[in-house]
Amino acid sequence: MDNANGAALPDRDTLLDWYRQMVLIREFEETCYELYEEKRITGVYLHLYSGQEAVGVGALAAIEPRDHAITSYRDHGVALARGVDPGPLMAEMMGKRSGVSGGKGGSMHLASREHNFWGGFAIVGGHLPLAAGIALEAQYSGRDDVVLCLVGDGSTNNGYFHEALNLSAVWQLPVVWLIENNLYGMGTRIEEASGQPLLHKRAVAYGMRDGGRIDGQDVVAVNCALNEAVAHARSEGPVLLEALTYRYRGHGVSDRQYSERLRDELEEWKAERDPITRLGACLEEAHPDSRPAMSALEQAARDQVLAAVKFAEESPAPDAADLVRNVYVE
């Protein structure tokens, strides 16, 4: 059986696992939003992944544990899809010592070395050459690991994008460059920021494989395209592709005019293209007995996030010794 985008459907367990991850991310992100509103998360920067879950989940399912993932500051969903425990992630939001980055990185600097999740990075485009360097290490060492580098559409117009993609092509580095095109770089729409708004076409400029534009609200389509891209990167070299998606909570949570400014567009994306609703419908059509399992996963996600919040709130804050630790390798 194929889905609406023509991709072959994986088995029921795989679809349910993706459903589990996507509802966990949505629950985690919406909880972060509430905690921010309640001032229980106090950091000024909080960029939520609600609406984009299918991209992260579908893409990360295409790489193996030995492979590598790296992303921008919109990193919560990617960390969860990579299998990082929600507890230390939530603790990082709250600036606790038990956070994945010891409470020193915050929302934009989640990472987990043991998961080969190399981080969220807060300077637009800054992580792109890092991805090239991580891929270089694999190539240099004779391994066939690939690096999956998630790239916001906003970063496609700064110099890092150009230099890193070109270098990856010149050196034939094993990188999958996946643009998450949510249509806006902060408040500026992609057509107002890019001479060529079909961003995947930039691949031509670097002589690298163009993986095309995919429906980023369809986890099956994302995964299918990424499987191909990862195989190409592993055996031949870099590939650039673009997933069309939409963010539900604005650039960051401080963008309070977002839902008003884009109300019609937002409601349309939510009503017609929501990635969780779509995967649910797909599951029910392919496997009509799935509803109870899906409901159980929804409840499990709520419980897991509640437990993460409890863990975070009960964790101690870093202290004066933590403040000065890890500036250097001593």
């Binding site: 990185g105 800054g126 890092l130 230099e163 890193a164």
Partner: protein
Amino acid sequence: MAARNQPMREALRKALREEMLRDERVFVMGEEVGKWQGTHRITRGFYEEFGARRVRDTPISEMAICGAAVGAAMAGLRPVAEMMTINFAFLALDAIVNHGAKIRYMFDGQFSVPMVIRAASGWGDQATASHSHAPEPIFAHFPGLYVAAPATPGDAYGMLKTAIRDENPVLFSESIALYPKPGPVPDDEDYLVPVGKGAIRREGADITLVAWARGVEWSLQAARQLEREGVDCEVVDMRWLRPLDMDLVYDSFRKTNRCVIVEESLPMYSFGSEIAAGIQEHMFDYMDAPVKRVSAMDLPLPYARDIELMALPDADKVVAAVKEIV
């Protein structure tokens, strides 16, 4: 220790080659480092000896060179990236100071970044404003990074080895004017200069001259001239701009009670400002005179030879500054 007299250029080349032979993880990357043999010939012969895998020519892409060095270092390699001139490192400032220097801290120790960014620095060849800088203090501003600036071939040799072997990122400044200058280079493949340790280049009782890189040469020239006039100068070579060996400065100052700081760079928010601030804060009871600074003039540098040199420090300016306070 046995030593051979070699120019700094050869000392750097020897250190880098030996470290590549010692550790397979060490590789070089940068503009023209391979087939061209290196703009400053530090990597002469490397491409033929080590091949394209370990001697990597890059496009003219400073952000990507330094950013990829950060990523490769995080992943376990020991990149030595070359900035053809330190002026071009401005293009990569974000990759160096906002990523390389901060990643260990931001992720609370999950990653280390054992990279070296080698950068050819300085002025004086009518290179004009955009190519005439000694901007090491800019990089030294940021915790998380070490900044090395050797004044002698022996130090260049030992400090580059230290930088490559260290687990932390190092901005390694090489003064273009010092590349051809000879000096003894130890015959010891494990000769290391400890991070953050300065050296006394000349002992003296009357005044402390604090300098780095070319400033050491001007200070020693000035000291020889002043000796004939009865002034006994102590010359402190800081060697590392971060960490800064202030204890060495204080030990000298306690003895001489006077100080002139000699720097190749611009005067505002500088090496000189930093050392002068430390002395007034910690050595107030020992001060017999105001601390003086000899820096470049607070200007972009011009092309014309006559006025270019007018804007720059030299031994005569050091002598004049010393005479104002002894």
